[in-house]
């Protein structure tokens, strides 16, 4: 496992006039994750993600913000092992210069941006014109393109969440860490005359839904938040850490092969990792 860049980019604690700065992130315990898929469906329900009957299991056209990948250690029967990796947007911070977030640096329309207040990578649908550079740039395949206008079977549009705008054809979308929930929580705080949010006030839909409690969400730089400690676990790792994207989604696993599978190994490098 490569050494995690835990300490990078922590120098932004001072306020910008609105008082609070956050760096929201996630720690996902892969030993607890059962691959049940509740996070995926909770995300789809929360974020008005469309579905089409033609898209069943078509990786090219399916729309997922949170996707659970199944991986295997590649050993033959009966030594085979499997694990699941839930993959939301990794909300890469990059190093130093913020434009190092891979998608942000290539967007010609400033439709996607890195928020210094929350550490969340935004996506503005009405601003996006669908060039899909960001999709090419993202090493995690978190971005999806709307090849069609979203259509809901008659009557089903009733369950749509007004906090998230349904997207039109021709734009890119992705996980927002349920930013609208942050907005709602902040709204409530404002109405009560507060600026600070408590840890439990802002949780993403997937975190809330996970029956295994495998997902922990919070402010990575707030020592009182659970993620702050979890991310420093010796079993913590991030995906494709080599690339230096500095993501804010951490994973935990006590299984060596799972931790190793999180990075891409070429040729000789991979020999010890995947003996199969």
């Amino acid at each position: 496992m490569k050494e995690a860049h835990h300490d990078e980019g922590h120098g932004h604690e001072e306020g910008h006039g609105h008082g609070t700065k956050y760096k929201f992130g996630m720690v996902i315990d892969l030993d607890k994750c059962t691959g049940c898929g509740a996070c995926m469906v909770a995300c789809m329900a929360e974020n008005n993600i469309p579905f089409r009957k033609e898209d069943t299991n078509n990786r090219l056209t399916q729309n997922f913000w949170m996707r659970v990948y199944k991986i295997s250690n590649g050993l033959p029967f009966p030594d085979t092992e499997i694990s699941y990796i839930p993959r939301p947007c990794q909300h890469c911070e990059g190093h130093g210069h913020h434009a190092a977030t891979p998608c942000v640096s290539v967007c010609p329309a400033t439709a996607t941006d890195y928020s210094e207040e929350t550490g969340i990578v935004s996506q503005i649908y009405t601003r996006c014109f669908g060039c899909r550079y960001c999709m090419a740039a993202c090493p995690y395949h978190v971005r999806v393109f709307n090849w069609w206008d979203a259509r809901w079977p008659k009557g089903m549009e009733k369950y749509l969440n007004p906090d998230v705008s349904p997207r039109m054809r021709g734009v890119v979308e992705k996980c927002s860490f349920c930013f609208h929930r942050f907005q709602r929580a902040r709204n409530k705080a404002y109405a009560e005359g507060r600026r600070e949010l408590r840890e439990d006030e802002y949780q993403t839909a997937c975190t809330q839904a996970c029956p295994a409690g495998a997902i922990t969400f919070g402010d990575l730089q707030n020592p009182e938040h659970k993620v702050h400690k979890l991310k420093d676990s010796p079993y913590a790792f991030r995906l494709l850490e080599k690339l230096g994207t500095n993501p804010k989604v951490y994973y935990l696993s006590q299984r060596d092969w799972v931790r190793k599978a999180a990075d891409v190994y070429m040729g000789e490098e991979g020999k010890d990792v995947f003996p199969g």
Partner: protein
């Protein structure tokens, strides 16, 4: 002046330039450009969800027997999200993949919008909307005729469960009408209840204290794949996976395929399918031989462990049977597990602080073998964890108010005396309450006339019963089928009338303790949204049908409405239920060993004396004891060299409710691709049969044939083929129908010799290149 060409051009160009300049001197051009940009962002067909006040409504999810508490987030009168209810005793905030997608079922096109009368051929999906009066009138007319013609006992109800007031209403309806044929679909719960009844003498549901166990030995249970109350078990799994290496519980999964549960387990032991019972006895052998059993429990509270006197003779005890028959070598031959592994597993299990053996294949949807269940239960008894922390107990339900006795006229009394059509409770199977899986065979065997009218509620027997071809034939032989389904499911599709029930988010109903839960909980479904369609509560409908049939039947349903009945039945719990949605018996402790067992010996019986009481004549001593009796899968191994086993997936609902689009979307691309389903095959087996990844193949069993795609998976035992359950629907709509193959159509019913319940665990099959 004549308008020459030149002049014309001069004028035109001048005017155009002037117009342009004039226009440019106004703000309208910029405004129009801006408006046009905005226009492209607001296509009229992209819906704009209305904003409004956000409220929460707490109720109970009814999509599976798990009984999770849910919180429905609403925007004005629209339900926009289902979340797990925080603090609820079953699932404390967690929710499963199906429960989250519940709103797609509420608002989806698969809802039955009004009472429907079939106009085309059965299954053609041609319906006519009729009024409730007309629909109820039709049912009353038909049932009235049957009753008058002395055929009351040929009416049957099939339900998904016999718990709660709605099921009781159906039961009451049949009792007052004059039919013994109240039938519920069965699951591993039924077999476990039977085993508990036989070995402990109590009629109660089994409950596992999963959270308190530290060594979980699972005999093929899909612990994190929808087994038991799914969210609760997944939460227990997370407790097992918490803390450092010393604090973590050990999970051992025994099954032929690397399921998610096996994948997460500390140890996965691949076993020859169908031989789990032998392994349990093999483990018992080691535990007894090494004297690692709980001697206090065995000596003071168990009967039939040692050889014992019963019915005037000395009978062989469990100990002797196990020591003689199930040594590791013998068991190794049956199960394919090395003897040394059996020994080490038995030692680890017996030496753990809170060992727990759990039983029920997959999600527990198939009833399974009684002796196998008894063998696993005996294992728990050996380590003394009956009614203990981290053990297994028999859990009663919270008491509700009894209803007045059912008034019965002569027709009712005569009808109720007739034997049940499924043969349960008498003759060959005196111990069993319901045997729905036998119905197709019986109906087809009698060439019609066995059942004249069938009422179906919250069950989809047309889809879930094994051997779909026989089921279809049986339905053809039932002249009148009424469905109370909320959705256009398979059975509703085959019905003559659909009297749609409210969706579970639209209605009041009680919900007894969910399967497997240790503490008794009584919960209440409270409507989160108003009815979206012209539906009616099935409780009200069945009472109205009863009243309209007249005579003593009107007296049987004297309640004003279902809500009134519910309030009366809940008695003193009603106020709490209405306010908080549930009542939990928090400090519940199962009875101590001295008082726990109601068997003839007042002890835990390894040697089951109740068989004789029930009038069952067992041939040999071992028939009274948990033992291994192989249930051979159907088919000639020479013609069908492989073994097909069903696999159950968390993301794929395979019961009475079809998988909603969101859940279908989450299936792996190695499970379903477009409309084609994958079967899992070990690469070695695939090589032997000339198959490769993604290749179309024909899967054939003695019961059916289907085209599938091949997925090579190292995690499945060579010689075994895994097929996911829950696909191949014909009903619902395009999002589900026509995708994949119904695994039930490829398998037949193998009856358990003692209970008569369906004990099918697989079938012989062959796989050839398409």
């Amino acid at each position: 002046m004549k308008l020459g060409r030149r002049t014309f051009i001069e004028l035109a160009v001048g005017f155009a330039a002037g117009a342009g300049a004039g226009f440019m001197a106004t703000p309208v051009n910029w405004k129009l450009m801006d408006d046009m940009a905005i226009w492209t962002q607001n296509w009229p067909w992209v819906p704009v969800p209305d904003r409004g006040a956000v409220t929460q409504a707490d109720t109970i999810c009814k999509l599976c027997p798990g009984g999770c508490g849910i919180t429905v987030r609403k925007v004005e009168d629209r339900a926009t999200k289902i979340e797990g209810r925080v603090g609820y005793p079953v699932n404390d905030g967690g929710i499963c993949v199906l429960g989250t997608a519940g709103l797609q079922l509420l608002y989806g096109p698969w809802r039955v919008p009004a009472p429907m009368k079939r106009v085309g051929k059965r299954g053609a999906g041609k319906w006519e909307k009729i009024s409730w009066e007309a629909a109820i009138g039709e049912v009353v007319g038909k049932l009235g005729d049957l009753r008058n013609n002395g055929q009351a006992h040929k009416v049957a109800c099939v339900l998904g469960s016999d718990q709660g007031t709605v099921a009781q209403l159906f039961d009451r309806f049949l009792s007052s009408y004059g039919s013994p044929n109240f039938i519920c679909t069965t699951s591993s719960e039924d077999t476990y209840e039977l085993a508990t009844g036989l070995m402990e003498g109590v009629a109660a549901s089994r409950a596992y204290d999963l959270e308190g166990a530290d060594f979980i030995l699972s005999f093929g249970c899909g612990l994190i794949e929808g087994w038991g109350s799914p969210v609760r078990v997944i939460q227990a799994h997370s407790i097992w996976r918490s803390g450092n290496a010393n604090e973590r519980a050990t999970v051992v999964q025994i099954e032929p395929r690397l399921s998610n549960t096996a994948g997460k387990a500390d140890q996965w032991i691949a076993i020859n399918p169908g031989t789990e019972g032998a392994l349990a006895l093999g483990l018992a052998h080691v535990i007894i031989k090494e004297s690692l059993y709980d001697s206090n429990f065995i000596e003071k509270h168990a009967f039939g462990f040692e050889n014992c006197a019963f019915a005037g003779k000395t009978c062989m005890g469990f100990k002797e049977l196990v020591l003689n028959e199930y040594n590791p070598d013998a068991v190794s031959k049956i199960t394919g597990i090395p003897g040394s592994k059996i020994v080490s597993l038995a030692l680890a299990f017996a030496k753990a602080k809170h060992p727990l053996a759990v039983w029920g294949r997959g999600k527990g949807t198939t009833s399974g073998s009684l002796y196998e269940c008894m063998a696993v239960h005996a294992l728990n008894a050996l380590v003394g964890n009956i009614n203990k922390r981290g053990g297994v107990s028999a859990r009663p339900q919270l008491a509700t108010r009894q209803w007045p006795e059912v008034p019965q006229d002569n027709v009712a009394i005569a009808g109720n005396r007739m034997p049940r059509v499924d043969g349960a409770g008498s003759g060959q199977y005196p111990l069993t309450r319901y045997l729905p899986d036998r119905l197709p065979q019986i109906i087809n065997g009698q060439n019609g006339g066995a059942i004249e009218a069938l009422l179906v509620h919250e069950a989809d027997p047309y889809y879930t019963t094994l051997d779909s071809a026989a089921v279809a034939e049986a339905f053809d032989r039932i002249p009148f089928v009424v469905s109370f389904s909320t959705y256009f499911d398979e059975t509703a599709n085959q019905a003559d009338l659909i009297l749609p029930n409210h969706h579970y988010l639209e209605r009041w109903e009680d919900c007894p303790t969910p399967v497997g839960l240790r503490n008794p909980v009584l919960a209440l479904l409270r409507p989160a949204v108003s009815p979206q369609f012209n539906t009616r509560h099935v409780g009200d409908v069945i009472m109205e049908i009863g009243r309209d049939l007249g005579g003593s039947m009107s007296e049987a349903f004297a309640w004003e409405s279902y809500e009134a009945l519910l309030e009366e039945t809940m008695g003193d719990k009603w106020d709490t239920l209405q306010e908080t949605g549930y009542v939990e018996e928090k400090g519940y402790e199962p009875p101590a060993w001295g008082k726990a067992f109601q068997t003839a010996s007042r002890k835990f019986e390894f040697y089951v004396t109740a068989f004789d009481q029930a009038g069952m004549k067992m041939k040999e001593d071992q028939d009274y004891l948990p033992h291994y009796e192989p249930l051979e899968p159907e088919g000639d191994p020479a013609a069908y060299p492989l073994t097909l086993i069903p696999t159950e997936l968390m993301r794929l609902a395979d019961g009475a409710v079809g998988n909603p689009p969101f859940c279908i979307k989450t299936l792996e691309e190695t499970e379903l691709k477009g409309d084609e389903l994958f079967v899992e095959v070990n690469p070695k087996t695939a090589g032997d049969h000339g198959l490769s990844e993604g290749q179309p193949a024909i899967l054939e069993t003695p019961r059916g044939k289907a085209q599938v795609l091949v997925h090579l998976f190292e995690g499945i035992m060579p010689g075994v083929v895994g097929i996911p359950k829950g696909l191949g629907h014909q009903a619902y709509d395009d999002y589900l129908a026509g995708k994949g193959v119904n695994a039930n159509s490829l398998m037949g019913v193998v009856e358990d010799p003692v209970s008569g319940l369906c004990a099918t665990w697989g079938i012989r099959a062959k796989l050839t290149r398409a």
